[in-house]
């Protein structure tokens, strides 16, 4: 019975009951809801589909196949760990928002048609913004507003694209828009206008280059616990949707390559460690987008596996920084350092997360990222392969070293705080366990992937090469530190594309406004002057002394009457 409703609906509807539980219990309520939802999802039969007829249109509200299964499962795991992490939070609205957000993301990845996808897509946007606003600061409010506008725009584009696609093809089914099978590739030129709009919608949510900055703008402004939720769902929903709709779209390879590269440079100089993680998140999405663009079975498996592992270790990293934020009150590198003495467990968990994202063997990132890099190799894409290697060294820089080093080691800030609360530690321990478990015993993950695979990550050569890459990257860090060449942390704001809409456009609009105002006042002035002159003329000519208003002498009247008659006479004779 329950399987006839979209997965995640338990969380969305249950969230509405949380306020009745009171502040203390609502956190536990959220944990119960996400666990119940996981149970319901786990017992869903394979290849399950439910169709609902609405306004004469068949909507495929539930579609469980291998793609939706793996994303749905990891979304549930993320929701449960994030709920445990947030158990101490007494702000009910955060729990409500978190549950609706997670539930709608799960429903979205199990949606078989574009309209259901759109509804869930917008619901994730509207619910998640409360996790940013919950911070209560003016900065968070403004950032949340920008986030909401951009996310809703993405949804509107998705709906427009879906409607155009429906008019052209008569179908709302959400499947590969190019009609490609795994292993085939197509170009962006083959896309109709509708799917193109949908691609842009996915691109906004997936933080494509130049469309990315909502991510780095909003995530660091969320609450300590809210950002853990945020990091898991929105962008990976976009990755799922891209993989479903645009696998094999060649341009995605290059978009993905750009995505892996530029964030690592920004991450080097960013001071706010949660913003560093947001850049790092963007870079990881790049790997997945490359995998989608390559579009072979191995690459798509790599994308799915990487999304799975990524959600867990990225949550873990955001959790460790959330714990620091919770205890210290800031995540700015300039204010931190030496915390390993007072937060030893958080330090260890953070380093496990950092190791996993960097791809150290025996941790989860290694078994998933290597699939995508190998897929690029198999297709003999040398430039792509090189770019992914550079990106891997970059990940080592910002997440493997910078995050743990500047937060927990580096120069001692002198701050002595309490270790994170038990529930935060529990959530981090669970995520750390998953990172190690997947890295060591990866077969269950590989069995879940969309396509059957015999990929073997632990070959001697592969392990040795990965160790060389990462260890020498770490050596480079030591070298740069010793040589005083590593850029010092500076309290600063680094401009990114958000500058365009936060500074350039307002200024341009300001300037344009001024010009319009000037022209307007000039025009008004000219008109007023003309009217004034006309009135003056009237007053002059029609006034008591004006030539029109004054009394004229009888002789001049007789003279003009004679002239008039004379003219009349001449005309008469003519």
């Amino acid at each position: 019975m329950i399987h006839n409703f979209p997965p995640g609906l338990i969380m969305v509807l249950g969230a509405l009951l949380l306020p009745f539980l009171g502040q203390r219990l609502s956190a536990w309520g959220a944990l119960v809801l996400s666990s119940l939802s996981l149970f319901a999802f786990w017992t869903t039969p394979d290849l399950h589909a439910v169709t609902l007829n609405l306004f004469g249109q068949d909507l495929n509200i539930v579609r469980i196949d291998r793609w939706s299964w793996i994303f749905g499962l990891v979304f549930h795991l993320a929701a449960i760990t994030a709920s445990i992490y947030a158990l101490h939070v007494k702000d009910t609205k955060q729990h409500v928002a978190g549950m609706i957000y997670a539930g709608s993301a799960i429903a979205a990845c199990c949606a078989g048609d574009l309209i259901t996808l759109f509804v869930c897509w917008e619901l994730t946007a509207v619910s998640s913004v409360f996790l940013i606003w919950a911070n209560g600061t003016e900065t968070a409010y403004r950032s949340g507003m920008r986030y909401l506008i951009i996310q809703v725009t993405s949804g509107v584009l998705l709906l427009s694209g879906a409607i155009i696609h429906f008019q052209q093809t008569g179908s709302l089914v959400f499947e590969n828009f190019l009609g490609l099978e795994p292993g085939q590739r197509g170009a962006i030129g083959d896309l109709e206008f509708g799917p193109l709009l949908i691609l842009i919608a996915f691109g906004i949510k997936g933080a494509f280059p130049l469309l990315h900055n909502w991510l780095q703008d909003s995530y660091p402004n969320g609450t300590a616990t809210g950002t853990v939720f945020l990091s898991a769902f929105t962008t990976k929903l976009a990755i799922y949707s891209l993989a479903r709709g645009f696998a094999g779209l060649e341009e995605l390879i290059w978009i993905g390559c750009a995505m892996t590269l530029f964030p690592i440079v920004f991450a080097v100089i960013e001071n706010d460690l949660r913003r560093v993680l947001a850049y790092s998140l963007n870079n990881q999405l790049g790997f997945m987008v490359v995998g989608i663009g390559i579009g072979t079975e191995l690459a798509l498996n790599g994308t799915a596996a990487h999304a799975f592992c990524h959600i867990i270790y990225k949550s873990l990293l955001f959790m460790s920084m959330g714990a620091v934020l919770h205890r210290v009150g800031t995540t700015k590198a300039t204010e931190l350092g030496g915390l390993h003495k007072s937060m030893p467990f958080t330090t260890i968990f953070c380093m496990i997360g950092g190791g996993a994202i960097a791809g150290f063997p025996l941790l989860s990132g290694f078994v998933s990222k290597s699939m995508i890099i190998s897929a690029a190799g198999h297709e003999q894409m040398f430039p792509v392969w090189i770019i992914l290697l550079i990106a891997s060294a970059g990940v080592m820089e910002h997440s493997g070293i910078k995050i743990p080093f500047f937060a927990f080691f580096a120069h001692d800030s002198g701050k002595r705080v309490k270790e994170a609360p038990w529930n935060m530690l529990t959530a981090m321990a669970i995520a750390s366990f998953c990172c190690i478990a997947i890295g060591v015993y990866y077969q269950p993950l590989y069995d879940m992937l969309p396509f059957e695979t015999h990929y073997e990550p632990y070959t001697a050569a592969h392990v040795i090469m990965q160790f060389q890459l990462l260890l020498f990257a770490a050596l480079a860090f030591v070298f740069l530190m010793k040589a005083n060449l590593y850029p010092a942390e500076i309290r600063s704001t680094n401009l990114d594309t958000d500058w365009v809409y936060r500074r350039l456009l307002p200024r341009l609009i300001g300037h344009i406004g001024k010009i319009v105002q000037f022209l307007d006042s000039l025009f008004r002035f000219a008109c007023l002057a003309m009217i004034k002159r006309f009135l003056n003329w009237l007053a002059k000519s029609c006034g008591a002394r004006g030539w029109l208003g004054s009394t004229w002498s009888t002789s001049s009247m007789a003279f003009w009457a004679a002239v008039l008659l004379g003219v009349f006479l001449i005309l008469y004779y003519l």
């Binding site: 003495k341 040398f382 120069h411 050569a461 020498f472 050596l475 010793k482 060449l485």
Partner: protein, 134 residues
């Protein structure tokens, strides 16, 4: 700018330097040893790769055997066995991968490159912390 090393000299504000802070050089030495070990491992394992490849039988790539040594994208000439080797035994897809210490040099260079690029980027995009608030 402070480095790990500075800490051990200056001492920390709390005066309760941890084992790690007192033994930064041990950590660095450990890292160097691990780096060297990873290089030695490559030498050690190299012959074993070849053996595995000759054992493996199925042809993986679509490249013509005759032209494989000509471009950088192809496998080494001496590694004809790896050419026929199953991809899951040996992930090397490009000749450059088999150069001794390639990944090590690459990791080091890429790291330094990224950091320098970042430093350069600061000149262009760095503003005051309250840039957007003012």
């Amino acid at each position: 700018m402070k480095t790990e090393d500075d800490n051990s000299k200056v001492g920390d504000p709390g005066g309760d330097a941890s084992w790690l802070e007192r033994n930064v050089n041990v950590v660095i030495a450990g890292l160097v040893v691990a780096c060297i070990a990873s290089l030695i491992a490559q030498l050690w394992w190299a012959p074993l790769f070849a053996e595995k490849h000759t054992e493996a039988s199925h042809v993986e790539t679509s490249h013509d055997d005759g032209s494989h040594a000509e471009t950088a994208h192809d496998e080494h000439a001496h590694d004809e066995a790896s050419h026929d080797g199953a991809a899951h035994l040996h992930p090397a897809e490009f000749a450059i991968e088999e150069v001794f210490g390639f990944e090590a040099m690459f990791g080091f260079a890429a790291f330094v490159g990224v950091v320098f690029l970042g430093t350069g980027l600061r000149l262009i995009i760095m503003r005051d912390e309250d840039y957007y608030d003012s």
